[in-house]
């Protein structure tokens, strides 16, 4: 039953049988007046109508359960993807300061680029004057010779091994901050997907 319902849900989500298949599962209160006898939602009706109603309810519930995204239950926040994007672009100043300061501390001992580059950590356009502009650099670390020496079979592999592996200086605190923002974005997108799915079912 679950597989079958899922298959039907699959089709509905594709919109292939959007009109025809789905009408089969609309509640009886929305049904047209073609029923032989006028019935309340749960009043006594003919046996055939009764059976159809039960089947409709079971199928509707099975569709609802089967087509739930396999995601954990979350307290979905009300912010939408677009609002999240705005939030990312206009983070409060203390957070930006904290992020920028923590990030730059890790670069103090690294090789500095003589031409300082503005950071666009949290904005797409030019950063406001009040926001923190920090140089964002990678530190290229030479890995110990024992780690870099590998037997090579081809010239391409040799070329790759000559390139120094790249690393990034970042604190765990900053890593957690960006991870939490990524999770918020993920939750917002899942909520958006769920809303679209319910809109499809509601048609």
């Amino acid at each position: 039953m679950q597989l079958l319902a899922s298959g039907l849900c699959h089709h509905n989500a594709l919109g292939i049988h959007n009109g025809v298949e789905f009408h089969r599962y609309t509640p009886s209160i929305l049904r047209s007046s073609s029923a032989k006898q006028p019935c309340d939602t749960f009043s006594k009706c003919e046996k055939g109508l009764d059976l159809k109603m039960n089947l409709m309810m079971v199928c509707a519930v099975a569709l609802l359960g089967a087509c739930q995204p396999a995601y954990e239950c979350r307290a979905v926040e009300s912010r939408t993807g677009s609002r999240l994007s705005d939030r990312l672009q206009h983070l409060p100043l203390p957070i930006l300061l904290r992020l920028g300061e923590q990030y730059s501390i890790q670069l103090d001992n690294s090789k500095q680029d003589p031409s300082p580059v503005r950071s666009d950590l949290w904005s797409h356009g030019p950063s406001p004057a009040s926001t923190v502009n920090r140089a964002l650099q990678l530190t290229q670390r030479k890995i110990a010779s024992s780690e870099g020496q590998q037997e090579e079979d081809s010239a391409e592999k040799e070329k790759r091994s000559d390139d120094p592996p790249i690393s990034l200086d970042l604190t765990f605190h900053l890593l957690r901050e960006v991870l939490e923002m990524a999770r918020a974005e993920q939750l917002a997108q899942q909520a958006n997907d769920n809303r679209k799915m319910m809109d499809i079912f509601g048609k």
């Binding site: 609802l64 396999a70 995601y71 990678l138 592996p165 999770r183």
Partner: protein, 319 residues
């Protein structure tokens, strides 16, 4: 059917159909059920129109937990950009280049790293990753046309993208997909709370589960093969160094498990909770497997509260 009974039946069916998870951050890695939904979801993703794919610009420093299409366009010379990608523990990534406009000869590059690297420390470590280090960095500029079209696939639920673009207006567009990994090995947790079961099916490999938060850890079950197997290792009072299959609990302030301090070891099957509080920046459970047994480790974790953190004397501690 009576109206009241029908109402109760419908209510009961609706209650059964709501999501089964209990808490916001509990990670349920019931692979069997996820397998079912992931197959359906992957079919949906292949057939859904492009309009439904998630799209957004990629930032110079970014963290992405979604699949979709991401575009980076340099508004000015961008040196040293990095994007972290992280999925749920039972997923891996595949990356495809949709459009690339960079000047490789001028020094621009796009490199994919299979794992995460931070302050010179890599996850998974050299001992735990199936590939040698030089194969974990895939350089777009040094790849042939076939490799660029085929894309890159990660070995675990995390990977990184490094890029350096000198000319304003240059950039690239990538599509990132997630795929089910039935036997996840080497995982970084997305959340400070969760529950996970790591299974290593008779493979000679080491698998780590990394939690980049100070946590209270509860190991509820650890099994080595079948309990009736007479060859199962016994509890050793001298530690687990002689055992081919064991679990080690590590704590540290970096990503590399080979640079972390062992806190505890388990080399005998048991059931029943064992609880520990670990105040390190990174807590890792590492399952070392000889390949002789099917090893399974079940545990849960939650963030240490402020009271526990305040009692830390500025360093990792265990209780």
């Amino acid at each position: 059917m009576e109206r009241a009974f029908r109402e109760r039946l419908l209510f009961a069916l609706l209650c059964l159909s709501v999501p089964r998870r209990d808490c916001r951050y509990i990670e349920d890695n019931e692979v069997t059920q996820d397998e079912l939904f992931s197959v359906l979801n992957s079919d949906l993703k292949r057939e859904l129109p492009d309009a439904s794919m998630y799209r957004r610009p990629l930032r110079c420093l970014d963290m992405v937990a979604l699949e979709g299409q991401f575009t980076f366009t340099a508004a000015r010379p961008q040196r040293g950009c990095a994007s972290f990608f992280i999925a749920e523990p039972n997923k891996v990534f595949s990356l495809f280049y949709d459009h690339v406009n960079i000047n490789c000869r001028g020094g621009d590059f796009i490199k994919v790293f299979d794992g995460w690297v931070m302050k010179g420390q890599r996850f998974p470590s050299l001992q735990d990753h199936p590939l040698p280090l030089h194969q974990r960095y895939v350089d777009y500029c040094n790849s042939d046309e076939l490799s660029r079209r085929t894309g890159v696939r990660s070995s675990q639920n995390v990977f990184m993208l490094f890029f350096h673009i000198r000319n304003a207006g240059d950039g690239f567009t990538i599509t990132v997909r997630q795929h089910l990994n039935p036997f996840p090995c080497n995982i970084i947790s997305q959340t400070p709370e969760g529950r996970f079961t790591m299974v290593v099916p008779q493979q000679h490999r080491n698998c780590s589960f990394s939690i980049i938060y100070p946590v209270q850890l509860q190991i509820s079950a650890f099994s080595l093969g079948r309990s009736s197997d007479p060859a199962l290792p016994k509890m050793s009072v001298t530690g687990c160094s002689d055992a081919g299959d064991f679990v080690e609990l590590l704590g540290g302030s970096g990503l590399d498990t080979s640079h972390m301090s062992p806190i505890a070891e388990l080399c005998s099957s048991f059931t029943g909770p064992t609880q520990m509080k670990i105040g390190c920046d990174n807590t890792v459970l590492r399952l070392v497997s000889s390949g002789r047994f099917v090893n399974s480790l079940t545990f849960s974790y939650n963030l240490l509260d402020q009271h526990d953190l305040n009692s830390v004397d500025g360093f990792c501690f265990t209780e």
